[in-house]
C-alpha cells in the first residue's frame, strides 16, 4: 500500500528496476539515509515547482477571468492568449529597483516577505493532491494546516510595522484583526468535519467521503454540512484576503495596505504568497467538503493520475468562484467585517458544531 509521495517515488523507481541498484550503491558506503534525504529533497523541488507554476498560471487566470467579466480580452500579446504574461511580469519585477525606505526597519523589512511565503508553502505538506500524492500524511494534518495559516498575520504585521508607513501599519492591523476573527469560525467548522471522521488526518477525511448515497449523491461533507461549508467558504475568503474581504490590501483606501512600500522581488514574494495561499485554501475546502480527490476511477490509467486531475478540477472550480466573486462585489467595511465575524459567524459555527454533535451521537449518518 502506497501512502505518500515518498513511497510513490520509491515504487516508481522499483518499477523501473533502478531502486535496488541505487540503494545498493548508497548502502555500500553505509549512508542509505542520504538517499532518503535526496528523495525528500526531490519531493520538495517538485512541490516548489508545482506551486510556482500554479501561481503563475493563477495570475494569468485571474486576469483572464476579470477580463471575461468586464468584457475585455486581458493579456493577449505575450505568448498564446497571453500565457507568458506571468513570466514577463516576473522578469520585470526582478529588474525593478529594490527600494528600502530610509526610515524602515531594514532587517524586518527584508525578512517579512520570506516569512509570508514560508507558511504559504508549508500548508501544502499535508494537502492530499491525489491518492497517495501527499508529502506527509500527518496525524494532526488539519490542526497543522490551521496552525500554519495562523502564522501569516505575524508576517503581515512585521511587514506593516517595518515599513514605517501609516498606511502599511493600518493595513497590517486590519489584516491581524481580520485573521484572528476569522480563524475561529474556520477552526470551529473544521472541527465539525472532524467529528464525523474521528481523525485529523487529511487522508482519512478524504477517504471518509468516498462512495455514494443511493448510488448518485457522493458522500461529500458539503451535503451533510451545508451550513458548515458556507461558513468555511466565507471564512476562507477572509483568510485569503480577497475581495470582499481584502482589508490587508484595500487599495482604494490604504494605497496598497501592508506592502505599500515594497517593490521588485519583495513585492513579488507577497504576490506569490497570496496566490499560493489562494490555491492552498481552495485545496483545503475541496479536501474538507468537496470529497478531495474522490471521484470516478478510469480503467488503465493509474489512480494517482485520475485522482490528481479530479482534485485539480475541483480546486480550480473553487478558485474560479473566488475570482468571480472578486469581480462582482465591492469590499465591505472593516468594522462590518468584524461584526460579521464575531456576531454572526462564530455563533453560527458553534450552532453547527452542536447540530453535528447531535447527528453524530444519534448516529443518523
Amino acid at each position: 500500500m502506497i501512502e505518500n509521495a515518498y513511497q510513490l517515488i520509491v515504487y516508481v523507481l522499483t518499477l523501473l528496476g533502478v531502486y535496488e541498484w541505487i540503494y545498493g550503491i548508497f548502502q555500500s558506503f553505509g549512508i542509505d539515509y542520504v538517499l532518503q534525504i535526496i528523495i525528500v529533497f526531490v519531493e520538495i523541488v517538485i512541490l516548489f515547482a508545482f506551486v510556482l507554476v500554479t501561481v503563475m498560471f493563477l495570475t494569468w487566470m485571474e486576469r483572464k477571468v476579470v477580463a471575461m467579466v468586464q468584457s475585455r480580452y486581458g493579456p493577449m500579446v505575450t505568448g498564446p492568449r497571453g500565457l507568458l504574461q506571468p513570466v514577463m511580469d516576473g522578469v520585470k519585477l526582478i529588474g525593478k529597483e529594490d527600494i528600502i525606505p530610509a526610515k524602515a526597519d531594514r532587517w524586518i523589512f527584508t525578512l517579512a516577505p520570506f516569512i509570508v511565503f514560508i507558511p504559504a508553502l508549508l500548508v501544502f505538506i499535508p494537502l492530499p493532491f491525489g491518492k497517495s500524492l501527499i508529502i506527509s500524511d500527518l496525524r494532526v494534518g488539519l490542526l497543522y494546516i490551521i496552525a500554519i495559516s495562523a502564522m501569516s498575520p505575524v508576517a503581515l504585521l512585521l511587514a506593516g510595522w517595518a515599513s514605517n508607513n501609516k498606511y502599511s501599519l493600518m493595513g497590517a492591523m486590519r489584516a491581524v484583526a481580520q485573521d484572528i476573527s476569522y480563524t475561529i469560525p474556520l477552526a470551529l467548522t473544521a472541527i465539525a468535519v472532524v467529528m464525523f471522521t474521528g481523525s485529523l488526518s487529511t487522508v482519512d477525511i478524504v477517504n471518509a467521503q468516498g462512495g455514494t448515497w443511493f448510488g448518485i449523491i457522493p458522500k461529500w461533507f458539503i451535503f451533510i454540512q451545508p451550513l458548515g461549508f458556507i461558513l468555511f467558504l466565507i471564512a476562507s475568503i477572509a483568510e485569503m484576503g480577497r475581495i470582499p474581504f481584502d482589508f490587508q490590501e484595500s487599495e482604494s483606501e490604504l494605497v496598497a495596505g501592508f506592502f505599500t512600500e515594497y517593490s521588485g522581488m519583495k513585492f513579488a514574494m507577497f504576490f506569490l504568497a497570496e496566490y499560493a495561499h489562494l490555491f492552498a485554501v481552495s485545496g483545503i475546502i475541496v479536501t474538507l467538503f468537496l470529497g478531495g480527490w474522490e471521484g470516478p476511477a478510469l480503467p488503465f490509467i493509474p489512480v494517482q493520475l485520475t485522482s490528481l486531475v479530479i482534485f485539480l478540477i475541483k480546486t480550480y472550480a473553487v478558485i474560479f468562484f473566488a475570482m468571480w466573486l472578486r469581480d462582482t462585489v465591492p469590499r465591505v467595511r472593516i468594522d462590518q467585517l468584524l461584526n460579521l465575524g464575531w456576531k454572526i459567524m462564530v455563533p453560527l459555527a458553534v450552532l453547527n458544531l452542536l447540530l453535528t454533535g447531535f447527528i453524530v451521537v444519534a448516529g443518523v449518518i
Binding site: V69, Q70, R72, K166, S252, D327, T328, V329, R331, R333
Partner: protein, 382 residues
Amino acid sequence: METEELLLNMGPVHPSTHGVLRFKLRMDGEIIKECNIVMGYLHRGTEKLGEMKTYLQFTPYTDRLDYISAFPNNYAYAKAIEELAGIEVPLRAEYIRVLTMELNRIINHLVFMGSLLMDLGAATMIMWGFREREKALQLFEMLCGARMTFNYIKPGGVRDDLPDGFIPKLNEFLKDMEKRIDDYEQLINENEIFLMRMKNIGVISAQEAINYGLTGPALRGSGVSYDIRKLEPYSIYPDLDFKVCVQSEGDSFARYMVRVDEMRESLHILRQVVDTMPEAKIVAQAKYGIAPMTGMPSAVSTYFPRIFAPPAGEVYSRIEAPKGELGFYIVSDGTTKPYRVKIRSPSFCNLTAIPRMVVGLKIPDLIAAFGTIDVVLGDVDR
C-alpha cells in the same frame, strides 16, 4: 486604554482622491476625528487667464475645468456672454447644445458610477461604464473632432451642424444604453455589500445641504427638489418633458440613485430632442457681422468673430451641469477681453460639505461619501 491620535495625509497622491486632492485627517484608530481638505495642486489660474484672453479665446479653457463633462462648461460660458450681449441663438443650435449636454450628463454619471464602485473595491463597473462612454465619445468625435475637450459650443451658436449619420448612431446608442442601465442596476443596486456600504453613510439633511451650498445630485439626494433647468429655464428645456430626480434620505445611496435616475431622464430628453430637432440648418447667430452658418463643413467655423466686444456690464449666469450649479460671473468693460471672469464650479462648492459629512466615520466611509459627491479636480482647483 491610552491611544494616540494619528495624523494621516490622504493624498495628494492616493488612488481614491480622484486626482490631486489631499485630506489631512486626524484619526483615532480608523475613526476620523477631523478632516481638513488641502487643494490647489491643479490650480492653473483659469480666472486670471480669462482676463487676458479675448472672449472666444477663453472657450477652450472652460473645457479644462470639468474635463469629464466639458460641453456644459462651454455652454455655461457661452450662455453668460449671450446674456451679457443679448445674443439670440438659432433654435437648431440650442437643440444641438442640449443634445450634447445631456449626452455629456450620461457619460459623466457613467464615470461617476465607475469610479465610485472602483473606490468601493469592485472594478467591473468602471470597465462597463467606459465601454458605453467610449461610444458616446465616438459620437462627440464625429461632432467636433475631439473626445474630451470640445470647444464646440460658442457664444452665438455651435461650431458646426450635426454631421451625416450622427442621428442614426445616436439612436443606436440610446437604444443600447436603456438596456445597459438596467444591467448596471442589477449589478450594483441588488448587491447587499454595496447597500451596506452606502446606506446611512455621509448623511446630510436638506437644511444643512442648502446651507453648505451643495448643488446638483448631491442636493437632490437630500430631498430638495431643485433643478436649474426647471427653476430658471434656459435653452429649450422649457419645451422638454422631464422630471427632477429626487431622493429623500440624504445619504450616499440617495446621491447615487439620483444619478442613476438622471441617466434615464437624460435618455428621455435626448429622445425628445432627436424627434423634434428643427430642420433649418442655421447653427450660429449672424449678429456682430458673423455670416450665418448653414450646415457647411467645419472650415466655416472661422466665421465666428475672432474679436468681439459685448457691452459693458456684469452678469451671473448659471446652468445645471452634471455635477451641480455651474455659474460664470463675467464683468465686461466694453473691451474685447473680459474684465473679470469668476467661475462658480460645482465641485469646489460641493466639496465644502465633506468635512461635515465624514467626521466620526471611518476611512472607507470617507471614500464612499467623497465618491458620491463626484468632484473633478480640474473643476475644484481651476
